[in-house]
């Protein structure tokens, strides 16, 4: 369950220590864009020490590493793998070939540390035109890949487009990445909303992400966590309707009926699937009415 993934700058001791405090479902310790090139070593060692000091953080840990093409990449992998983050987020991933190299590096580190192969998953960040074009291949090529994250800031630059709050320039990329992830059967997360002070805009963007089929959304500010969690949490009405659907289906089966209508609509497979997902999510979140 990853409704929200909160970026935490890797070179900031205060923020690392309080990472689990903000209510996000996952935290992303960032060794990449949040850290100046001259401080990559400092961030790596700090994050390593922080993770050793707080082994049971109570929130899922993802580590964002530097791009494959940089010198930092291999040191990031070798330092982070033994710390058992749930996922590693490789950046500027452009192709299935990139994934193969990254996966091999992770596998080597797992082996060197006596860890079972495949312990660490990947959450590639797609932030280039090539990455989006190759999204399905990237999602599908390796069992390590557990999901995809959209990076709209770098992507819009690569597209030579103008980044906007409404996001018309990334509408295709959003649709494409969701399509690719779902086709490959992995999770998919939306790009962060970047205006820290616009609470209304944040809530709208989060609701849009949910509607488009994303599993959750990354955030760059603790103040955005609540809105994103809310957007990806089933509402009371959704849960009530889902229960009705499941009861209606059970009733129909009991009566030997093939089809059933509820609230004037035919309840067919997509509706049942959606209802099951809502109840499963609600159950995981411990919401009222989720037990059936």
């Amino acid at each position: 369950m990853r409704r929200s993934l909160l970026f935490i700058p890797g070179n900031n001791p205060g923020m690392l220590m309080g990472a689990d405090m903000h209510g996000a479902d996952a935290v992303i310790f960032d060794l990449e864009d949040a850290v100046a090139p001259t401080e990559k070593d400092a961030a790596r060692i700090l994050v390593r020490n922080a993770m050793r000091a707080m082994p049971d953080l109570g929130v899922e840990v993802v580590v964002r590493v530097n791009p494959l093409a940089t010198d930092f990449f291999i040191q990031d992998i070798q330092t982070m793998v033994p710390l058992h983050p749930k996922l590693i987020m490789p950046t500027k991933v452009a192709s299935a070939e990139d994934v193969a190299h990254i996966s091999a590096a992770v596998a080597a580190a797992e082996q060197a540390n006596g860890m079972p192969e495949g312990s660490i998953g990947l959450l590639p960040l797609l932030e280039t035109a090539q990455g989006i074009e190759n999204a399905f291949a990237i999602a599908d090529c390796d069992l390590r890949v557990k999901g995809l994250l959209l990076g709209a800031e770098d992507l819009s630059s690569d597209l030579q487009a103008i980044r906007s709050k409404q996001g018309a320039e990334i509408l295709y990329a959003r649709g494409r990445i969701v399509m690719a992830a779902r086709a490959a059967g992995v999770e998919v997360y939306d790009t962060p909303f970047t205006d820290v002070n616009d609470a209304e805009g944040m809530a709208e963007d989060a609701r849009l992400a949910r509607a488009l089929g994303f599993s959750g959304k990354a955030v760059i500010s603790p103040r955005h966590v609540e809105a994103v969690n809310a957007a990806f949490t089933p509402t009371e009405d959704e849960i009530i309707y889902a229960r009705e659907v499941m009861l209606a289906i059970a009733e129909a089966q009991q009566q030997g009926r093939g089809a059933i209508s509820l609230r004037g609509k035919m309840v067919d497979k997509p509706i049942v699937d959606r209802a099951q997902r809502v109840l499963a999510t609600a159950k995981q979140l411990g919401l009222e009415g989720s037990d059936l």
């Binding site: 220590m17 309080g18 405090m21 903000h22 209510g23 000091a53 603790p222 103040r223």
Partner: protein, 469 residues
């Protein structure tokens, strides 16, 4: 004979001020005050010495006080709060005689009972007429309520009004009345408006502070006190003020009609009054322009004196009717005693203000604080200085959970049943120590530089100099 004199120098002469006497000041002009410095500078010029300054609070704008101490003009200080700049010097031993710390309720009680005798009260008034009818709501240095000045006006032997805005007689409103005033003098400026009130008060943006505030609001919601007639007070900043934001939706949901907000009033409480959460505001001090405008224009926003606010000698006072107060702490110990007088190194950087009064008076007293600040755990084995006794403190709220005073089993049961993260206070301390390590306790060993008087008058603690002697 006219009360109106031409200069501060004349006013001081006419007041009969002699060396060795006690002079008093209120702190409604806060860090923008010019009056205390002005009066002491003139007293020094006139060769006066050995004065005791009885000020409801002292801020770093009053740092020139230290020069007057070093030159012998001032030899005694009595106050309810002392900012860190002056506090540091006191902790290092600049003053021979121990400072007497009281609280916002203990000070009027001491004045009224005669334990404190004020020879001359110098009352800064944003607006006054020539007879001394004065208020804080008009004029360019408007500060709102003059609550802390009222006991001085009533009990001092001589009362001098210092204003920069002389208005026609008879001035209204008149929390300070001509019947108590001896002299009135007009000066160019009594203070800097920017230091007197903030433009607007903003609640904290710090995620830790906000999550503490959210939990505190939930504690209040499950205390059984959030019913019609609910009353509430909060500190002016940090996590305390943020509690109001989280409380509002909970009050709305329960459809609670509150009776009054008390304090220390900011625009946030003014909004709550205007939005119908409370029927009244009882105001002993205004913190921002919104509060000043409201007290001036809204009859349900009442000015109250320090006596009515919290004097334990009065037949009753507002804090005794208060349901909930949210307060801060630099330290809290395993017995729930709270320190807001010193930092963990023993340096004076505060004082009770209304802390002990409200904690003792309110039915539910909450302390909000992070588990640690810059590696220093808030929960200590024994506080460096007792400001408020543990028996008056009900709940500690941190970002990792709440601890409840063992005297409140009822509360503990309610909050546990509500699913809130309830711990023993030593468990929360252990959580902090796991991250910070165990600190070496620091207890200054020098001579006594301050005594802390509890509202009813007894000495609850002493503060020693950080310099060994």
């Amino acid at each position: 004979m006219s009360k109106l004199v031409h200069s501060l120098a004349d006013a001081i002469r006419a007041s009969g001020l002699q060396s060795g006497m006690t002079i008093s000041f209120h702190h409604h002009l806060r860090n923008g005050d010019a009056v205390l410095n002005m009066v002491l500078a003139e007293a020094a010029r006139q060769g006066l010495r050995d004065l005791t300054v009885q000020a409801s609070s002292l801020f770093d704008v009053h740092l020139p006080l230290l020069d007057h101490i070093r030159s012998g003009v001032v030899t005694g200080i009595e106050t309810n709060y002392m900012a860190a700049g002056i506090g540091r010097a006191i902790s290092e031993g600049v003053l021979q005689k121990p400072v007497v710390f009281r609280s916002h309720g203990g000070r009027p009680a001491a004045i009224e009972s005669g334990r404190v005798v004020i020879d001359v009260a110098f009352i800064a008034a944003p607006a006054s007429d020539a007879q001394g009818n004065a208020n804080g709501v008009l004029g360019s240095a408007a500060c709102g309520s003059l609550g802390y000045a009222i006991p001085d006006a009533k009990y001092a032997k001589k009362v001098v009004i210092i204003t920069d805005h002389l208005m026609p007689y008879p001035l209204t409103p008149h929390p300070i009345e001509e019947t108590d005033v001896d002299l009135v003098v007009q000066v160019d400026s009594i203070g800097d408006p920017k230091g007197i009130v903030s433009g607007t008060t903003r609640i904290t943006r710090d995620p830790v502070g906000l999550s503490i505030a959210k939990l505190a609001a939930q504690v209040i919601a499950h205390s059984g006190l959030m019913v019609d007639g609910f009353s509430f007070q909060t500190g002016a900043g940090g996590a305390s003020l943020a509690v109001t934001e989280y409380l509002k939706p909970l009050l709305r949901k329960q459809q609670v009609q509150g009776s009054f907000g008390l304090g220390g009033i900011t625009g946030y409480l003014v909004d709550m009054l205007n939005e119908g959460y409370f029927g009244n505001l009882m105001d002993v001090q205004c913190f921002d322009l919104a509060a000043v405008a409201s007290i001036r224009d809204n009859p349900r926003h009442q000015e109250i004196s320090a006596t009515r606010y919290a004097s334990p000698n009065a037949r009753s006072c507002a804090v005794k009717s208060l349901d909930t107060v949210v307060l801060g702490a630099t330290e809290i110990d395993l017995n729930f005693n709270v320190n807001v007088h010193t930092d963990s190194n023993g340096y004076i950087m505060g004082g009770s203000g209304g802390h002990s009064d409200t904690a003792e008076g309110a039915k539910l007293s909450l302390i909000v604080a992070p588990l640690f600040r810059a590696r220093l755990p808030i929960i200590v084995d024994k506080v460096t200085c007792v400001t408020t006794k543990g028996s008056a403190v009900d709940v500690l709220v941190t970002q990792r959970g709440v601890a409840i005073n063992p005297r409140r089993q009822d509360l503990k049961d309610n909050l546990k049943a509500a699913g809130l993260p309830v711990f023993e206070i030593d468990e929360l301390q252990a959580q902090a120590h796991k991250l910070t390590g165990v600190p070496v306790p620091v207890k200054p060993q020098g001579r006594v530089v301050a005594q802390v008087e509890y509202p009813l008058g007894g000495i609850v603690d002493e503060i020693r100099s950080v310099c060994a002697e």
